[in-house]
Symmetry: C2
Subunit: 191 residues, 2 copies
């Protein structure tokens, strides 16, 4: 089988790749600054971030590995919600997402031998109304701190999500249906 | 903390309860026949199945535990898709779900001290077009055989799901947002 490099430090992305049966992959996160103009449509932002990661990691690799890179942002009120800076920042994010519908955008790059396949996907997530007490309780679990938008959909944050419209795994960080088709075009099949 | 009994043999439901932080629960699956009139609306079918499980298990328990029971069906073309009988049955199910949108209904019962809280939820799942070869490859993984509708959304079956509309965890077997609110009414909180 072809060597696959996952250009991401996210344990959730690794877990998802493993779930699809890709267990022999090499994890090689990009280390560069996330330089991107945030005054662009969100699809563009995540595609550029994913592309930058793929290119950076490819420059550090020999041979012709297949590189998978991705970036995920939460988008609400025409603003990017990244990882919270501190607990108060997490509180503000969750407070504003409460009772509303936001979008999650993931950009994915599959890069091999100079060819870049770049896609992005949007999922819409509706939170139920949250009380301040609930938000504080959730922050106390520590779960929000390393996650875009200050919640994990595959953790206790699941109980906030009243409705999802799109690819669930896109919210976790990799749109699996789309990714499987990108990999298939490179001759890499899930089954 | 109150004793919680999970009246389900599903490893996925146990995993989801653990994910919410309920790790001390007792698993006590119902063993009775799933007797229910299938000529009813799907919401009714899953509610009755969940209720039957909760009642059966409560009769075997002493004390006043809190019992969580659930049942999930796949519903397409006005028919219930249960677990496949054999590989050919799995093939037929997946063939007919390919390229179409079906519904997944889960009924949940929270039962305690003679009081039954009974709810149900629908999620709509859209499969991309599948080739016969892909379906055979998926069946060869063994994943479809113990699952309603012959697929697991939290496994390799994820790559078939182009779109989800509703609660993702409802498709896995427990609508977590709803369940958390049912538990909260019994004084059991996720955080």
């Amino acid at each position: 089988m072809m060597e696959i490099i996952l250009a991401s430090a996210s344990p959730r992305r690794l877990e998802l790749m493993n779930m699809l049966g890709f267990e022999d992959l090499t994890v090689l996160p990009a280390v560069g600054e996330e330089n991107v103009d945030l005054n662009q449509p969100p699809h563009e932002i995540v595609r550029q971030l994913a592309m930058n990661k793929a290119v950076e990691v490819s420059l550090r690799c020999g041979g012709q590995p297949l590189i998978v890179a991705a970036d995920t942002i939460v988008w609400y009120n025409n603003k990017v919600y990244g990882k919270p800076e501190d607990e108060e920042d997490a509180f503000r994010m969750l407070r504003s997402l409460s009772g509303n519908t936001h979008s999650v955008f993931t950009g994915v790059a599959v890069f091999r031998g100079g060819e870049m396949d770049l896609r992005s996907e949007e999922s819409r997530v509706t939170f139920r109304e949250l009380s301040d007490e609930e938000i504080r309780g959730y922050i106390a679990t520590g779960e929000p701190m390393d996650k875009a938008g200050a919640y994990g959909v595959q953790g206790k944050g699941a109980v906030f999500v009243e409705h999802l419209d799109g690819d669930f795994f896109n919210v976790m960080g990799l749109p699996l249906c789309t990714l499987a088709q990108m990999l298939k075009q490179q001759g890499v099949e899930v089954f």
